[in-house]
Symmetry: C2
Subunit: 384 residues, 2 copies
Amino acid sequence: MDRVAVIGASMTKFGQRDSWVMDLLAEAGTACLDDAGVAPDEVEHLYVSNMASGEFEGQTGVMNALAHDLDVLPAYSQRVDQTSSSGGAGIYAAWQSVASGASDMTLLVGGEKMTHRTTGEATDVIASITHPVEYKHGVTLPSFAGLTARHYLERYDAPRESLAKVAVKNHKNGLDNPHAQFQKEVDLKTVMESPIVADPLRLYDFCPITDGSAALMFCPESVAEQYTDDYAVVTGVAGATDTHVVHEREDPTVMGGVVESGKQAYEMADLGPEDVDVAELHDMFTILEFLQMEGLGFAEPGTAWERVEAGETEMDGELPINTSGGLKSKGHPLGASGVAQGYEIYAQLVGEAGDRQVDADVGLACNVGGFGNCVITTIMEAAA
Amino acid sequence: MDRVAVIGASMTKFGQRDSWVMDLLAEAGTACLDDAGVAPDEVEHLYVSNMASGEFEGQTGVMNALAHDLDVLPAYSQRVDQTSSSGGAGIYAAWQSVASGASDMTLLVGGEKMTHRTTGEATDVIASITHPVEYKHGVTLPSFAGLTARHYLERYDAPRESLAKVAVKNHKNGLDNPHAQFQKEVDLKTVMESPIVADPLRLYDFCPITDGSAALMFCPESVAEQYTDDYAVVTGVAGATDTHVVHEREDPTVMGGVVESGKQAYEMADLGPEDVDVAELHDMFTILEFLQMEGLGFAEPGTAWERVEAGETEMDGELPINTSGGLKSKGHPLGASGVAQGYEIYAQLVGEAGDRQVDADVGLACNVGGFGNCVITTIMEAAA
């Protein structure tokens, strides 16, 4: 069977945008068609990763509207929702559409428009994914993050600074990403002294509320070769679900969805963590970067902080993590984030990452929905 | 390659339910596991077809919550949204998951909880799929239906009664469906004298607002054979998108998405309209049954009404349509409807349709999103 290739990618500037969600999706979709050199009428399937256009903007049917705007009719169009991992789920859906033979040219566009709502309103929409038994106690995702961070730091005797260094690193990486929301360096002191949000986590341990969109073009490898030599291949992709009720998990520092989706993706790609050259992890909160490093085998349990402290995940380290700036600096427009992770890995593999280019043949992206409720891990390799 | 089989199905009672959406989804999901004889830990992928749990109930992440409630963890779970054709899109997603080799056991559950909202509120959520250029003129789906019905009746010199007879037939069929919202016959006079909603369409030309859920279990045919001899095979499934702005369509009586998805599904199944023994069409409005009959080749353009008048689509006719009672009598819980169509076709093919059983080896379901914006056509055959 043909492998599934990625032959083009795009992302809009992330940040506070005046455009509404449809314009953002159309901007990324159009740019991706251009980047792939694919004409609208060649697109057979269109997937739109989006969590909450209905709640944020009162607009549903965005896949249908986008198919119309991009002039890809009568292409099949469908919305993919997996809360904050909708983008990763879109990659999986797009992969399945090609691997099943249903489509020979699949466009995936992820996007969300959030900044027109207040922080309270946006947080409330996001909190609607929590289980009612937890929601009624006022538990939000940031509070889970705070509890988990405290547990991790105490259990593994890790310094508070090690978390802050994730933020510092990702902001530094974002400097070289023209699409990032914050192209601004922050120092350790700024992070450590920023306002407390969910103790011990502070403002700079969290990603911002963001508008933006990203897109990827998928097709069978035999079709890809007709378009370009510089493409990437999705060699591993898998997803897993963890308990919806977070307090039912055995160990708060182990995200079962990360472990399981990673295991399956490695198996499918016939690779292991040691083969990965570059990774995009879902750093919605700094602590999540530790949990994913450990869940994906990049560090033994309780030791991710040591690798971060040692600088091994910096741009010039052994395993650069979040070369894009991550959600922390790039921003986190829910449905777009997983697609934008794919954009970064693709750009690194085909050598289009500009000033933040690293040397990579194998890339991994991990997209986390809720507080590890749903997780998708994707492994891509350079065609070569 | 293995064909994709359906080895179990279920649906809850449709109507006004006290349960919230999660309970409805769990009820159908549990019943489907039982019907298929599949243990929760055998499920590899779970798809949830749902349009608007966030808008209707303030609850998102329903796929994750359901995976938890059904104890299918760590199965991959994802929500599929294609507005009112979310159920059909779920069938397509489930098919792709098995056909791509990603999953050997995929559970699809569709559901929606709507009746706790007022008709105005529910209509507003549904109207959020229309394009803003039309929405601001106060256009709703019922108004499109009225305009199209008037055009059809005048253009083809069809009697108003022919539309009413669709409602009469589907209510009659629903009598024998214990899951239907209305198990109640209505006569022609009642339909013709019911209050005008969107002239010339009256109250009984419309489906009700409904709560409910339905489920289907998919796996490769080689796996199916280990569970049962009585299974169905999805031999054709395809979807297509039409213009989002309805007034841009060339001919208001032709639904391009129906024509295109039907064409592709027939081609995939290597069958034609003449081979279909039983069909479930998306009769959200009576006029839609005519448009789909014509778009799918069951009648020449402008003649569907003649087949209906001649009784050819009745239970004992040449092509029974909506043996379940259709959306008209059974109800239309958005995300559930397409899955419930699949349930009916499956039940007819494996001989489990009870008092409404017809003789059928090939069945077709057509699920329509918006006003023909997105359409999925599915063809199933008895395993034989």
